[in-house]
């Protein structure tokens, strides 16, 4: 019984990711970009979920890990010949080194994790409002430094000339890695201990769980996943500091909250559902044909709709679309599976 539930807990989000990727193979090239973006969003939101969902502590700072991951992967995978044009003040080592696509993604994850540990060491002592404000401070500092420090990146310039290698396959694999890591973590001893601190910090302490230590573990893991997502992101679109700031923070938090912050299934459902709505509206802002005429929405409609959706979900269904639970199996299917396993 437990094993069946565990399998469903992993399979349902993984299958959803695969289904989204399969949709991407049959649509036009322009729509495919939206699908790939959706998959990268899944990776970011799952990264958010690993920390926020399991610990119950709010973080506005995860986009900074996405940003440093994107910076690392972008700088290191840009051809050496292209670098001086975009990043004239780059420090020596970064200027002369270029790595392949997969190593750059691994480095992005590593840098994300390292930065998360660095930030988490002091910050994981905080919770509630203080954690929200402090992680917001991390976002501000990261944005500010990446924007003006031209030794470590393009500064105000846009990351062009990064090989655009994030296609359907890579994005899907990235999202699946994030889902699998989140699943393994939440079924592990550490994940359970962290969720215990979320439910009742005092009781968890009383049985010997270190709230600080467990939060730090989750923060590092989610930093790694966010960094990986950032690497995928920079290989997908030409980014700059503004694309990795408040808007992305808002939209990914909205995805997590709308889906249901306390379950992996909720994180993936939220990311896919909101990305679908968002892509449709983004397309509609340029005018699309719908049955019965052309839909042409003014620029900015996306965020209005997503913001309204998020506020509505928070008010009407604070635990999100999925209720913050893992996938509910229909009873008949469960019984069938159980008898099969019993034999």
């Amino acid at each position: 019984m437990r094993r069946v539930l565990a399998v469903a807990e992993l399979l349902a989000p993984a299958l959803l990711v695969v289904a989204v990727a399969l949709v991407g193979t049959v649509v036009s090239t322009s729509t495919e970009t939206y699908v790939v973006t959706t998959l990268v969003n899944v990776a970011i939101v799952v990264a958010l979920y690993v920390f926020i969902g399991n610990s119950g502590v709010l973080s506005f700072g995860h986009v900074s890990f996405v940003a440093v991951g994107a910076w690392a992967a972008g700088i290191l995978s840009m051809p050496v010949a292209e670098k001086p044009a975009i990043m004239p003040n780059l420090a020596g080592f970064l200027r002369d080194t270029t790595v392949g696509n997969v190593p750059s993604l691994a480095i992005a994850a590593g840098v994300g994790a390292a930065y998360a540990v660095l930030v988490g060491l002091p910050l994981m002592r905080l919770s509630g409002l203080a954690a929200g404000i402090a992680t917001f401070g991390v976002l501000e500092i990261t944005h500010n430094v990446l924007r003006y420090w031209e030794k470590i990146g393009p500064g105000l310039n846009t990351f062009s000339a990064v090989p655009e290698t994030t296609g359907l396959l890579q994005a899907a694999v990235g999202a699946l890695i994030a889902v699998a890591a989140a699943f393994l973590y939440q079924r592990s001893r550490y994940g359970r201990m962290l969720r215990a601190t979320r439910e009742d910090a005092a009781a968890a302490r009383a049985v010997g769980v270190s709230v600080y230590g467990q939060r730090l573990v989750a923060f590092a893991l989610s930093g790694a996943l966010a960094g990986l997502a950032g690497g995928l992101y920079v290989h997908l679109l030409p980014l700059n500091t503004e694309s990795l700031y408040l808007d992305l923070t808002f939209i990914t938090l909205a995805m997590l909250v709308i889906g249901g912050a306390t379950s992996l299934w909720g994180a993936v459902v939220g990311a896919v559902a909101v990305s679908a709505v968002d892509s449709f509206l983004a397309e509609a802002e340029n005018g699309v044909h719908v049955p019965g005429g052309t839909l042409d929405l003014p620029a900015g409609t996306r965020i209005v709709v997503v913001g309204a959706l998020m506020a509505l979900v928070l008010i009407l269904r604070p635990s999100g679309l999925t209720g913050g639970r893992e996938i509910p199996l229909p009873r008949a299917a469960m019984r069938g599976l159980l008898t099969k396993f019993a034999r």
Binding site: V57, L58, F60, P122, L123, R125, L126, G128, L129, A130, A131, G132, I133, A134, F136, G137, V138, E140, I141, N144, V145, R147, Y148, D247, F250, L253, A254, V257, P298, A299, G300, T301, R302, I303, V304, V306, G307, A308, M310, A311, L314, I315, P318
Partner: protein
């Protein structure tokens, strides 16, 4: 690279006056945020969008050629209406939730309002310049100081004095202070929750409208992200000072406004561009060392409302 601090302190009175003026404006915003936090335990991330709405009202009035008082009246009307609507539609349904959920909700409202402004008025911005004569300097004993610096300092001081009187001398003020201290006990003793919260929201709306008038004089170009940066800084300042008491929140707001106005004006660009980093690093440091804030009384921790 030497800091021209001495020259700045000695000669550049304009920078100093600007910094005091900005500190005053930020102090008013800090009071607006702090009042609502006191009774609701809610950090209103959408406060800046109230100011933005007021600024658009002023721009509209300027475009239509309304007299100055008409624009200011419209600004106050719009902002107060919007803040009351925000209370009804968002804060009330969410009152029972955790502070973190409410913070996320106001984050959503902030983005919602900002994109509505983007939809409605476009990204280019509008001009609200009916009070631009306040940018002219006054000559005070041989020193030129822009009128707005003095006006905003005076208005901020006046507003704070009025508020202290309201909180200290009236019944509603007493109720608000009681609710900020311990909401549950205050209710048990007969303080009406809705009335207290309603008046806090109303006053914070009035303050936002005042801030809108002052800020449009300094920055007449009104865009959808008007006052966003200011709100982020003020939030940091409020936390820096200590959210639990109005006095400490106000001091924190003033301090961060003064610091960013003064350093922004006095430092060369290659140093002042990292100013936000230093301010937020200071905020994080304060949160770690003195979670209750710099100016808070020691031994008082935040009591999360049940």
């Amino acid at each position: 690279m030497t800091l021209p601090l001495a020259t700045v302190l000695g000669a550049d009175w304009q920078t100093l006056a600007d910094a005091v003026g900005l500190g005053g404006i930020y102090a008013l915003m800090a009071v607006g945020i702090g009042l609502v936090f006191g009774v609701l335990r809610l950090v209103n991330f959408a406060y800046g969008q109230l100011v933005m709405a007021g600024a658009y009202a002023l721009a509209f009035a300027y475009e239509q050629g309304w007299p100055v008082w008409g624009g200011i009246l419209l600004c106050f009307g719009v902002v107060v209406l919007l803040s009351v609507a925000m209370d009804w539609l968002v804060f009330r349904p969410l009152r029972a939730h955790s502070p973190a959920v409410m913070l996320v909700a106001t984050f959503a409202v902030a983005f919602l309002l900002q994109s509505i402004a983007l939809l409605w008025f476009g990204p280019l911005g509008k001009i609200a310049a009916s009070l631009s004569s306040l940018n002219q300097p006054w000559v005070i004993s041989g020193v030129d100081i822009r009128k707005i610096s003095i006006v905003s300092t005076a208005v901020a001081a006046g507003g704070l004095v009025a508020l202290v009187a309201l909180l200290g001398r009236t019944n509603v003020g007493l109720h608000m202070r009681a609710a900020a201290l311990d909401f549950r006990t205050a209710r048990l003793l007969g303080v009406r929750a809705n009335r207290v919260i309603g008046s806090a929201v109303l006053i914070s709306g009035l303050l936002a409208a005042t801030v809108a008038v002052m800020l449009t004089v300094q920055t007449p170009l009104v865009t959808p992200d008007f006052a966003l940066r200011d709100t982020i800084l003020v939030l940091a300042g409020v936390v820096l000072g200590g959210m639990n008491r109005l006095v400490s929140a106000t001091l924190g707001g003033f301090a961060i406004g003064f610091a960013s106005g003064f350093l922004g004006g006095a430092l060369p660009t290659d140093q002042s561009q990292y100013l936000p980093s230093f301010l937020f690093a200071a905020v994080i440091l304060v949160l770690l060392i003195r979670p209750a804030g710099l100016f808070a009384r020691t031994g008082q921790q935040a009591v999360e409302r049940v």
